[in-house]
């Protein structure tokens, strides 16, 4: 990349990156997920994950290994990121559907809610 052509190409590439983010901001209005739409630290989700594969419950350490998230903690982003992570992991690791997962969570200190996988 050199000279004027290089900078013009760079400018076009930069504009494309910015345009993609504009798209992500608009898309975020139609989904509970908040990826790439600049919603940092907008929600505090306190959660507790319980996982059963068949009849066997997973330990906190196994849950951490499985989802790369602590079994209990506070997430600084949309609660749906956590559900997305769990759903995608289970679709990949347990396509036969043997896993049963419960997430107890509360958003911004509100009332406790429950999320299940598979969704009832």
């Amino acid at each position: 990349m050199a000279g004027k052509a290089g900078f013009a190409l760079g400018f076009s590439m930069g504009c494309a990156l910015l345009a993609a983010q504009c798209g992500a901001i608009v898309y975020a209005r139609f989904t509970p997920l908040r990826y790439f739409c600049w919603a940092p630290f907008d929600q505090q989700t306190k959660y507790l994950i319980e996982v059963y594969i068949g009849d066997e419950g997973l330990t906190e350490f196994q849950i951490q290994q499985r989802y790369r998230r602590p079994a209990a903690g506070v997430d600084n982003r949309s609660a749906h990121h956590l559900f997305d992570l769990i759903e995608r992991t289970e679709n990949k690791l347990e396509p036969a559907g043997r896993s049963r997962i419960t997430v107890l969570y509360s958003i911004n200190g509100g009332r406790q809610l429950t999320w299940h996988y598979p969704n009832p």
Partner: protein, 379 residues
Amino acid sequence: MALPQPLTQPFRLTGLELPPQTVLLCRLLALTILFTWHPRQIQTPFLPFLPGLDELPPVLFQRTIQTVLVLGSLAILFTRRLRLAALVTGSALLLAVLSSRAYYGNNKTFTGLLLVLAACGDLRLIRWQFALLYFGAGLNKALDPDWHSGQFFHNWAGARLANPLYLWAAPHLPSLPQIICWSTVALELALVPLMLRRRFAWPAIWLSALFQCGLLVFTGDTFNLFFFASQIALLAFVEWPPSPVTVIWDGECGFCAQTKGWMQRFDRDGILHWVPQQTNIGDRWGLSRELLKDAMYSVSGSTIRQGYSAWRAMVVWFPVFWYAALAAVVLAPRPAVVAFLLFLTPLSNPIGEAVYRWVARNRHRFGDQTCALPAPPKG
């Protein structure tokens, strides 16, 4: 003893393929990656945003990204191939973000984008990026009921951080969380037009800097790379002096000559043009010999500064000043940010001026040459 050229490279900002602000921006981001030892956070691919990345050998992928981040950051600091190094380093960071939903974070995405956009070579892209970030953040908060009611801040500051200041103030001011939430939304959205218009660059810089510094002081948290990236990105709004800053100094004072020599060592870009007052250069701006005897003056465009203010306005053009500030914030975020803000704002003027005046009055006592000023009477 002169340092070898590659070792002086981090202190040069001009004569490269990118504007000086962009060079400094890239170097500070590279130092942030190294000082915070960010490569250790890089993970193996996990539920990637880009399909197929988890098909790659995971450890090889992780080690490659880590190596590229370290080598790319060093290349940004020490080589002249700055655009390429910034592009590669920023792309590696973005690839790491795209490779793992567990690693994903706004702070890493923003840092990666800043490097890539810097490599694109147009400062407007970085300004637009920053405006877009504030727009996205402000919009998301503005549409969230917990931000309308103040519940977010009440829970975060009270239950999560247990911030003593908030816990003390909240019972006296029940609407405090709501006020803070709405103020945050208003500030983030107001920063968007300010960042998009060149003539509002300084309000945008100060509002954004104070907002992010305030957050850091309140929480004690840099939010991983975010605080650093958000402060460094403000360089895209700064005008670099089109001509050297004229410094009028006492050419007959040994201590002043030593100070000048020391500062010139860091001034690799020749941004300071030193002229002794004895050449009568002060006449150009109506500065009498009497005035010039009391303090050093700096002239940049139509702005004339003296004493401590002149000295402060000179050191901020040295990259080494910002590198030291960055290192201090990494080591001790809260005290360093408070000290840094005090230094950059007029709040430090009374102490700074007093120290400067004392040094200026006693300058004949320092240094290894005789000063032209008469020594004060003894006894």
